[in-house]
Symmetry: C2
Subunit: 336 residues, 2 copies
């Protein structure tokens, strides 16, 4: 159709509507600041020409661009991937595009990405977690836009935070196992550097068990967060000093799944001999044998709430910072 792609510009709309450039700009971005007549004529003209303002030109003169920067560790984690999509779709409805960057838990990369993004004058920045390097904090402070930290609320946000408490997740895992009578517990995580939030869950787990009479807990570090590492973990645990534990919590469902498979191979019955709790409630969790008991943070809500709060904040910059806890559920199935 009308795809000559010498797209209509504001001047075309102005001419067709018989008003000045300024009026078009106003009629489109602050309809209440022009007379109803002008507004109508401009909107008609714009519609007729299929006019869409150039985000680039707008960004050059305006204080910020219709863009939200999103800094994440990685896309390997299905939750990050999904919540990013949800966020992205939510913002799109408000005409905001999203600009992602990945740092793989490397502070230097995180800072570099952030710096590059700020040159685009984003309307808002979303970063992952509450712990950031000094450099990142400085950049965030200098950034002239609202900052949203996601996936964690245990700590002091720079501005707003949308996530859940990883400490609570650790506590819930411990309670789930303790409640069914387990007394010799292990929490399995990838190395701290690979996932700081998993480390927070481990800390709370160990702490919770430590204040329980006649129960003890150990921390085992898997090589990474894969099913393979989970299988290794089980092998390693069965010949631990003092015998195998009677309850294991994993910092991720993939790890837990690997453990379940390996337990089956070793004919270690779950949950009778060892109870297993996962984390994440990945799609397959309900279908393993035995079905995996796991924790489910409301990850879907992270993207949704973020989008909603970002949009609200941009509409009213005076709005105060928020701290949204999307919560965590314990999904009890068969493994614990």
């Amino acid at each position: 159709m009308s795809d000559t792609f010498a797209a209509a510009r504001m001047a075309d709309v102005a001419k067709l509507a018989g008003v000045s450039l300024a009026s078009v700009s106003r009629a489109l971005r602050a309809p209440d600041s022009v007379s109803p007549g002008t507004r109508d004529r401009v909107q008609r003209a714009a519609a007729r020409l299929g006019y869409t303002p150039s985000p680039i030109a707008g960004s050059l003169s305006a204080t910020c661009a219709p863009l939200v920067g999103v800094v994440m560790p990685s896309m390997a984690n299905a939750f990050f991937a999904r919540s990013f999509q949800v966020l992205s779709e939510g913002l799109e409805r408000a005409g905001l595009r999203t600009m992602p960057g990945f740092h793989e838990y490397d502070d230097t990369r995180e800072a570099r990405i952030l710096e590059a993004m700020l040159h685009w004058k984003p309307a808002a920045m979303v970063v992952t977690g509450l712990n950031h390097s000094r450099r990142v904090l400085a950049l965030l402070a200098g950034a002239n836009c609202p900052v949203f930290e996601m996936w964690d609320i245990d700590g002091h946000p720079v501005d707003s935070a949308v996530g859940f408490s990883n400490a609570e997740a650790g506590r819930l895992a411990a309670q789930t196992l303790l409640r069914r009578g387990c007394r010799d517990l292990v929490y399995v995580t990838p190395p701290n550097a690979v996932d700081p939030r998993a480390a927070a869950r481990a800390g709370a787990f160990l702490q919770t068990v430590s204040v329980t009479d006649d129960a003890r807990a150990r921390h085992l570090r898997a090589v990474d967060r894969t099913a393979g590492a989970g299988a290794d973990a089980i092998r390693c645990l069965i010949d631990l000093d003092g015998g195998p534990p009677d309850g294991i919590a994993f910092s991720g469902d993939a790890l837990a799944m690997g453990a379940l498979f390996e337990a089956q191979r070793l004919e270690l019955s779950v949950p009778e001999r060892i109870a297993v709790v996962g984390y994440g409630d990945l799609e397959f969790a309900g279908y393993t044998v035995p079905a995996l008991t796991t924790l489910r943070p409301a990850h879907d809500r992270i993207g949704q709430e973020l989008a909603a709060h970002i949009i609200a904040r941009l509409a009213d910059p005076g709005r105060s910072a928020v701290r949204v806890d999307v919560g965590i559920d314990v999904v009890v199935r068969e493994s614990a």
Copy 2:
């Protein structure tokens, strides 16, 4: 540090280097077009001021922005998520940011997203698959930039394509099953609308079996691509007219995993009674019981090759279109 965030502008560099604006611009973007002396002074001045050009201002005057639009169906698929990250990281090294959009297999949304992105004057566009609506094709044609189609090479690319042959994947699945003696086969996919590429694999699978003597194949549509749907599929297959098949191929590993679990629950031995082939080689595939035999397209390479070819093309716009087949491996484990 120097984070007053009234960032240095080109004029500052020009003054410090004692040259004109234009020379700074040239020295920075085409160092060979200025004298060594100028180049040096400019680069020194730029470094000293920590100058980074404003991508927004640059984009307004230049023909395109340092941005690559990437249109994907979704992030639910771990492959899309990963290859997007790899692509994104690869482009970042060349100073290109990535701008994603998701359409969930909806043509209208795809067109809308594409249109919105084109307003940003991307240096290149990446879209998923080779089949697009007329509207999308028109937009792509009008877009004044190279177009890369990813994840599929069976068909006629608008410009360049980086992916693999889904038909080959279907064929390989069939051959794997036929070769081990299976003769009554089923291919399980989600509904076509959910994944056109899965439909292509199914087609090739059925075709391959149909030209084999004494073998037959049927097509079963699962409700979606989850493990749950895979479990349902197995239940449905065991009381199919003419008895259960002796070989099943799934269009995704999650489906296959669900099937494996359900088979175990039903005490249907795999691969003795039914051989199972997956698709994707998701991380867990090596750890299921029995370990899943599956197909592995070189998805990692898609992002890498894309980034490399996009960068090369932008460096030399005269470069011709490419068609890169990253290939598929059959990963034989225990289930078939």
